[in-house]
Amino acid sequence: MIPTVDPWAVAPMMPVGLGVLLLPLFDVFLVRRGSLLGQPLTAARRSTYLAAASLLFLGASLLVTLNAFSQPIRVFNPENPMVRMDGVALFLCATVLIGALLTVLASSKYLEHVQSNWGEFYTLVLSSVIGMMFLAAASDLLMLFLALELMSIPVYALAGFHRASLRSNESAVKYFLIGSFASGLLLYGSALLYGATGSLVLSEIATSFDPENALDLCGAGLVLVGLAFKISSVPFHQWAPDVYEGAPTPVSGFMATTVKVAAFGVLVRVVAVALQPASDAVGPALWMLAVLTMTVGNVMALIQRNTKRMLAYSSIAHAGYVLIGVLVGGEAGTRAVLFYLLSYTFMTIGAFTVVAVLARDGREYDAIDDLSGLAQTRPFLAIVMSVCMFSLLGMPATAGFVGKFLLFSAAVQEGLATGNSALVWLVVIAVLNSALSLAYYLRIPALMFFYPPREDVQSSAPGSFERIVLFACAAAILLLGLMPQDALPLLVSVLHMPDVNVLQLASDAAASLAP
């Protein structure tokens, strides 16, 4: 009657879940009390306490996740496998939690500056994080949809958090409409796949998938389209620049990193497991998606005048690079994808946090020209931003280069093994795109160091939480760039966790995935 479940499978999600329940109560508690620990409770101080509390819950989750690496794979309900916490899921959960930690740290002072200092912010972040963690571990289509919605709906609200700003409201509505549309497509595709294969579980879909059948292919296509919206790949990317520009800056950072990380995680799983029999069709589609996404992202970023929009297009371009790893698949490709997602989280949150620090007096200073002369007024910010920019463009000694190197390496390895030149073409295109991206990434350090500061832009000094974020991001970028071997064995072991690894299925047939 009562199914035998393994509650330890969802142990990483539990502290955050507890946080979602307790944080609103803590918020109300603080509002009703006038003072805590002998000090009067201003909105700013309330916000700081709430941030600290959410850090505790996120940190606890992170610890549980890291501990779970050394344990066998856990499936919540083996008879109806919806949640499967294997190495890939744990790594992505850890990445998402790190991203959320950095976001929470970066946002408390920012919210004060844009006068949107409400406690619900942290609850929404934590709710979204639960959705992301389940998304990373989803092994069946229904769980995928559930987790996707659980992740997305709080983010829709977060995008519109700056209620006084028209752009923020526009951002929320736009994201909500397009995101719901994408979820609808995903659901329809899932229904078609269920109808065609008789199962919602990803691994079972693979066994009964018929690549000749139109129903199967339509279902697969719609699922891919739905996911492509979430990772903002071209031509499903149109929402991203507007949404990132309008949302509060730390939320843009949150969206650009953690949402993408979780969505990529499930994309890898769907492509490698469920759609593996359809690799002759899916391969060329992914190839085209990768090329379009990289190129359009980079070209459009060249003409941007707003830092957040530029970073939005930059994150679209990076999604294109990661798609190479998804296309290659197997152990090498997945390892590259995981490393890239982790390093990309640090680079992007670092860059968005620098923009967030510039906010004051209810408005943001997110035009690219506002960064002018930052090296003279705020050298710490300028150095961190430069490290992030150099990492995003792929300069050696930074994590961005190692990520790109791993991706190219995987593609070349696969190309050599299968004699498939299309993969090497992809690497050449990616390299040319990296060259193209130099033009807009280099503009930022040039503005900061070579131009005098503007008189009308006076940024406030970063608070201590923000300093921690900036320092952590820069340090992580350099450490991962110079000493990646500490991360690599972890990645290798992640893909080889004991018990059957879901991606082992993929690595055997990885050759057929490429066009």
Binding site: A397, G419, V424, V427, V428, V431, R443, P445
Partner: protein
């Protein structure tokens, strides 16, 4: 003393010590700066002292280097990213030794020359110069392709900031052009490097980026890279192409040279000196160390094209230099011309050609570095660089004129100074089987004499037209020291070049042997040095 750490630093870890001493110095200074604000002179004197220690260490390296031993010496090997076969491997051969000596020599000279030149943000400037030094030294010593690539790219960042912050009016345009142009070439080379490593995995079963194998382990240089058949990206043509493109942009070879005049002119004096003195040599070093031995058949096949481009560079560079009114731009275009000479020597593919080319790399570094520094001295006084603004300068600044004239003679290749030895060897090597290209190149020597001497005549001799020039003070003691320091190698290499060609011999012979070995089907087309062309202490002793 016998302290074990000192022994190991001067022994097995000498190369790492030389490479990272500059960076370690400024990192230490920056750390201390975070606690207590150090006055500018502390930064300046510490950096100068560190650069002199680096020079001393290079001297120790030179002394420990055994010219008779084949292969690489002082090899250091540490595992870096073992999952991908990436190692921290450093080693030195005769070619790298000479270039490292040039680099270590130039830094203290440049620091001393720019002592009062850089007025604002001195700490940042010193940090960037020393980081740049580390990057360049690392690229010369690196024996792992990944490590080489890391040093090759990271060098761009300090140069980007140096030009962008302390440069001239068009500095931002110049530095962006320099960075983007160079990096585009390097990115394509990255594809080639990754392909090579995985080819090694395919042929030998282990993934490695190590260039030379050691013992039972094989390296990239042991690969058999096909010239035809197989995928287009596994063939020598493509791989040589991407490597050659990256290096050609750096050298710079025509038509990839357009970044150089802007970068050289807009850069501050010390930046130009280092850029011309060392950075350009990295391109030709790349050809000698990587492109030629790895892809000999492709090198032979494309040699006519490359020689052609080199000739265009020589003649075109010289002609454009002739019509320049800005003396710094004149020197910049003369660089294009001289680097064309070096490429010609390399692609003569014989012992005198290649030895001459490597020696000329050092010569060009010294003489063009000297010219940029000397131009900087006059710019510091008058803040103009137009030739028309001068005239009769020798009356006001005779000592300066003398040193400038020596540097000019060195640059145009007057026998007795360093330029002649290099040019002579290159022409000797080229003439052996590239008859008419050598004739064209020789005309380049005449052209360089024309534009340099004409410029010198207009600047230094003739009547003292502008009153502003009359009051100019001659060289200070510091400037004289810098000038003398630069002239010494010019004379030394000119009259006793064997000191510098001795370490080269083995390395050049091995290079040619490697090329012949790796391309047995075309080995007879590679003109190995015959007795009449062999370099050695005897052939130049009569100079």
């Amino acid at each position: 003393m016998g302290a074990p750490w000192l022994d190991s630093l001067l022994g097995e870890h000498l190369l790492t010590a030389i490479t990272f001493l500059p960076l370690a110095t400024v990192l230490a200074l920056a750390l201390v700066e975070g606690i207590v604000r150090l006055p500018e002179p502390v930064w300046k004197w510490t950096s100068l002292a560190s650069s002199l220690v680096g020079l001393a260490l290079t001297g120790i390296l030179w002394q420990r280097f055994d010219p008779a031993v084949s292969g690489l010496q002082m090899v250091e090997h540490v595992e870096w990213i073992p999952d991908y076969g990436i190692h921290y491997t450093m080693g030195v051969d005769g070619i790298a030794l000479l270039l490292v000596a040039l680099t270590s020599f130039l830094l203290p000279v440049v620091l001393l020359a720019s002592w009062n030149d850089i007025a604002k943000r001195v700490r940042s400037y010193l940090f960037l110069m020393m980081s740049l030094q580390t990057g360049m030294l690392g690229a010369f010593f690196a024996l792992d392709l990944f490590l080489f690539y890391v040093f090759w790219e990271t060098m761009l960042i300090p140069m980007y900031f140096i030009i962008g912050i302390w440069g001239g009016p068009r500095r931002i345009y110049a530095t962006l052009k320099f960075f983007i142009y160079t990096m585009v070439g390097s990115l394509l080379m990255l594809v080639g490097i990754v392909v090579l490593a995985w080819l090694h995995q395919q042929q030998f079963g282990s993934l490695t980026f190590e260039y030379y194998g050691s013992g039972p382990a094989t390296g990239i240089l042991d690969l058999a890279i096909p010239t035809e058949g197989g995928a287009w990206w596994q063939r020598q043509g493509f791989l040589f192409g991407v490597f050659a493109l990256a290096f050609a942009i750096k050298v710079p070879m025509f038509p990839f040279h357009t970044w150089l005049p802007d970068a050289h002119v807009e850069a501050p004096t010390p930046g130009s000196a280092v850029l011309a003195g060392v950075l350009l040599k990295l391109g030709t070093f790349g050809f000698v160390r990587y492109a030629l031995p790895l892809f000999p058949q492709a090198a032979l096949e494309y040699a006519p094209w490359i020689v052609g481009l080199a000739l265009v560079g020589i003649v075109y560079g010289a002609l454009v230099a002739m019509v320049q009114s800005d003396v710094k731009k004149l020197v910049a275009y003369s660089s294009v011309s001289h680097m064309g000479f070096i490429v010609l020597g390399l692609f003569a593919l014989n012992a005198p050609g290649i030895s001459g080319a490597v020696l000329q790399m050092v010569n060009h570094g010294v003489s063009t570095g000297a010219l940029f520094i000397l131009v900087g001295m006059i710019y510091e006084r008058r803040h103009v660089r137009e030739i028309d603004a001068f005239g009769g300068l020798a009356r006001a600044m005779p000592v300066y004129a003398a040193f400038f004239l020596i540097a000019t003679m060195s640059s145009i290749g007057l026998p007795g100074l360093n330029g002649f030895v290099g040019e002579f060897l290159i022409l000797l090597g080229a003439f052996q089987h590239l008859r008419w290209p050598a004739v064209v190149a020789a005309s380049g020597v005449i052209l360089s004499a024309v534009y340099m001497l004409w410029a010198v005549r207009r600047v230094f001799f003739g009547p003292l037209v502008h009153e502003a020039n009359r009051a100019l003070r001659d060289l200070s003691a510091r400037e004289k020291l810098v000038a003398v320091a630069l002239v010494v190698p010019m004379i030394w290499i000119g009259v006793h070049p064997s000191t510098f060609t001795n370490p080269l011999d083995r390395a050049v012979t091995e290079l040619i042997e490697t090329m012949s070995r790796r391309a047995p089907d075309v080995a007879q087309s590679i003109p190995t040095g015959t007795d009449e062309g062999r370099t050695g202490p005897d052939s130049e002793s009569h100079e």
